[in-house]
């Protein structure tokens, strides 16, 4: 109180002096970096159907094609499994296979993938067993697979919460001297979460070797992008954090692969994070449990079908003479083999031990859990006898 009064009296005294007061001008404001190079292009990068495609490696094109066919088949098979009650729920990525797969293939083996709940195809493209990728959705265990095996973090259901993890892992790898890159995937809706902003900020401040990959498929369940953000594009969000933003056609597998490969290489050589927005579309509903007719027009879906990622890649391969009917058949057969195997293994009832409920809560079971385990064991024995 006293010091406040003293301070205010020094400001007011002596009267009249105020007119002599000249504030020191603040130091001229300088932008610390020129944002121009960080800004995304106004048009998303396209390779398929443009002159740039001439540079694409035929082996890569064929690899992408085979994987896309397999991915589409995976989606239809998993969706069929929900109808047969073998899967509780499945968020399909039909129409989004290019982004899922091309992004995952841009990583080296030593890199890490941080998928969201929808990104099963990215995980499978990286080598995860197709059945293990569905454990969470079938309901026999939460995630369940060992993340170290293929360097895939658990498929993350709370939106955007895996993004800070990707930053931390990439940062830790760099501290250890490993040239490991983390690829963190998120949907358009997830970019509204606080964790998205915090992750981008950390990554940029730490110059962490992370690539943020936003698959903008137009909707977060029922909410269209226009109600999610007022930004010119999601890629623009990068600029405010001090990292480059890149826009890519998410249905163009070659373009996605190119942009991601560049971003990964940049991160690996110490250039810091990149935010990539892939523009795509969710052809199916949010999940099999969702009714998309409540919030979108059928005509919209048809427009996007004409820009199907498989269709546009197939056209290129055919025109170049890299793919004929035999090639198509071979890819379809390989996909069918995968689907048959998936179907067969998913049709077998998983063998579950209820006692596992207590197995992985702590490194060492607490007394409390041991008591509860004994209770359940007794119940199961009584059930068995009855």
């Amino acid at each position: 109180m006293d010091s406040l009064q003293q301070r205010s009296s020094t400001v007011q005294e002596p009267p009249g002096a105020i007119s002599d007061y000249r504030p020191t001008p603040p130091p001229a404001w300088q932008p610390r970096t020129d944002p121009a190079p960080l800004l995304p292009d106004t048009e998303p990068l396209r390779v398929l159907g443009t002159d740039a495609v001439a540079d694409a490696d035929p082996a890569l094109l064929l690899r992408l094609y085979a994987e896309l066919i397999r991915g589409r088949r995976y989606n239809t098979q998993a969706t069929a499994l929900t109808k047969q009650g073998r899967l509780a729920v499945y968020p399909s990525t039909t129409g989004q296979e290019a982004g899922e797969i091309a992004a995952a293939l841009a990583l080296e083996e030593r890199d890490w993938l941080f998928p969201s709940y929808r990104d099963t195809l990215a995980a499978v493209a990286r080598g995860l067993d197709p059945v293990q990728a569905l454990t969470l959705l079938r309901g026999d265990w939460h995630t369940g697979y060992d993340p170290h095996e293929h360097r895939i973090a658990p498929l993350c259901t709370p939106l955007a919460t895996q993004l800070p993890h990707a930053v931390g892992l990439a940062h830790a790898a760099r501290l250890k001297g490993d040239d490991v890159v983390a690829l963190a995937m998120v949907g358009d809706g997830g970019t509204s979460e606080g964790d998205f902003h915090e992750a981008l900020n950390f990554a940029a401040v730490w110059q962490a070797p992370v690539v943020f990959f936003v698959q903008n498929n137009g909707f977060a369940i029922s909410v269209p992008l226009a109600k999610q953000t007022a930004a010119p594009s999601l890629a623009h969000k990068a600029v405010g954090y001090g990292m480059p933003g890149r826009l890519v056609d998410g249905n163009d597998a070659v373009a996605v692969h190119q942009v991601l490969t560049e971003a990964v290489a940049r991160a690996r050589r110490g250039g810091g994070p990149t935010l990539v927005e892939a523009i795509t579309y969710r052809i199916d509903a949010h999940t099999n449990a969702d009714d998309a007719t409540r919030y979108r027009a059928a005509g919209e879906v048809e427009t996007w079908r004409a820009h199907d990622p498989i269709l546009i890649l197939e056209r290129e391969l055919t025109e170049r003479g890299l793919l004929d009917e035999d090639g198509k058949r071979a890819a379809a057969e390989a996909a069918e083999t995968m689907a048959a195997d998936l179907r067969e293994r998913m049709n077998a009832d998983p063998v579950l031990d209820p006692m596992d409920l207590f197995s992985h809560v702590y490194a060492e079971q607490t007394t409390q859990l041991r008591e509860q385990a004994a209770q359940l064991r007794a119940e199961l024995e009584a059930e068995g006898e009855a």
């Binding site: 729920v89 259901t157 709370p158 509204s192 909410v223 999610q228 409920l357």
Partner: protein, 324 residues
């Protein structure tokens, strides 16, 4: 029940223009459980708003709206997705009245579908009531019947304090004779109700476990056990009077809920009952709760959720003398 909740919001919005509903997918879609179905159409998108996907933002914005005289009703899509909003809930929603010496109340309702039993995947079945109960400044209520769903939500919206309104999602599809045309009068928050009269022991429960306890009470009758069932409806404030009166009558009590037992709601309830009824108790107050594990995957959840058998086992452990 979903329809009764929707009707409660509709009636409140029609009566009071300051009531606003908002959250993820609550508008065009009508919510993933369709609880807000039709509200956007009837009242416009300014009154029933699809927000960006950001729980902290939703609740934080609700704080500001309440500061300016609105009564926000926000939906958290699923129990486990409310966690990003905890900072706003605990530091601001719960404390604003206190920080401003009563000048700035927070008439916000936070609707949270909670609990298991619907085969939901990871992060879709948490029972988070203990976190809310541990935060002074919040009311915590949860209906178990269609009638209560309507009455309690009306009361919550009318309340000048923040109310965490827990909706047992496995009861969303439950039905009763309740008619949307003749909604029951609004019940005040903080009153428990005796759902079934009995003399042998009291089952103290709430939300999704109420139907389980009623079923257990029916089954117990065959064994000659006459059980009373108290539905708390409101966890904060806690109706000590109704609960204690019941336990004094019966002399025995079991608390039943599906959230974890250790540090769970039952710990508080058992302690209160013991403090108030010690001389009337013939046996220690027991708890039947979910195991102290992360909510299990759907294929194993039946082993975790307290069912009729576990409730009956506990009743037997109250050292019952058959026939008495």
């Amino acid at each position: 029940m979903a329809q009764a909740l929707q009707r409660a919001m509709r009636d409140a919005m029609a009566e009071d223009p300051t009531v606003h509903v908002m959250g993820e997918d609550v508008g065009t879609l009508g919510g993933v459980f369709r609880v807000t179905d039709g509200l956007a159409k009837e009242f416009g998108e300014d009154r029933c708003t699809d927000t960006p996907l950001a729980e902290a933002g939703i609740l934080g914005a609700a704080v500001g709206m309440a500061m300016y005289g609105l009564r926000p009703v926000v939906e958290m899509q699923f129990d486990a997705f409310a966690y990003p909003a905890f900072e706003q809930l605990i530091s601001h929603v719960a404390k604003m009245r206190n920080r401003t010496r009563g000048a700035m109340p927070m008439p916000i309702v936070i609707r949270v579908p909670y609990g298991g039993g619907i085969g939901g995947v990871e992060h879709h079945s948490d029972s988070s009531e203990a976190y809310y109960m541990a935060t002074p400044g919040l009311h915590v209520v949860t209906p178990a019947t269609v009638e209560d769903a309507y009455g309690l939500l009306r009361a919550a919206i009318a309340s000048d304090d923040p109310v965490v309104f827990l909706e047992p999602k496995r009861l969303y599809w439950s039905k009763s004779d309740w008619s949307p045309e003749a909604p029951a009068p609004v019940e005040p928050i903080g009153k428990a109700v005796v759902r079934r009269r009995g003399t042998g022991a009291t089952l103290i429960t709430y939300g999704p476990s109420v139907p389980v306890c009623l079923e257990a009470a029916e089954a117990a009758q065959a064994e000659g056990w006459d059980l009373e069932v108290v539905d708390l409806r409101s966890l904060v404030p806690f109706d000590d009077e109704t609960v204690s009166a019941s336990v004094r009558r019966t002399g025995r009590a079991v608390v039943v809920h599906e959230s974890t037992g250790f540090g769970g709601p039952g710990a508080e309830i058992a302690a209160r009952v013991t403090e108030r009824c010690f001389h009337h108790l013939e046996a220690p107050v027991l708890r039947v709760a979910g195991f102290d594990i992360p909510y299990p995957p759907p294929m194993l959840e039946r082993h975790h959720l307290p069912g009729v058998d576990r409730v009956l086992d506990a009743v037997a452990r109250l050292q019952w003398e058959a026939g008495s």
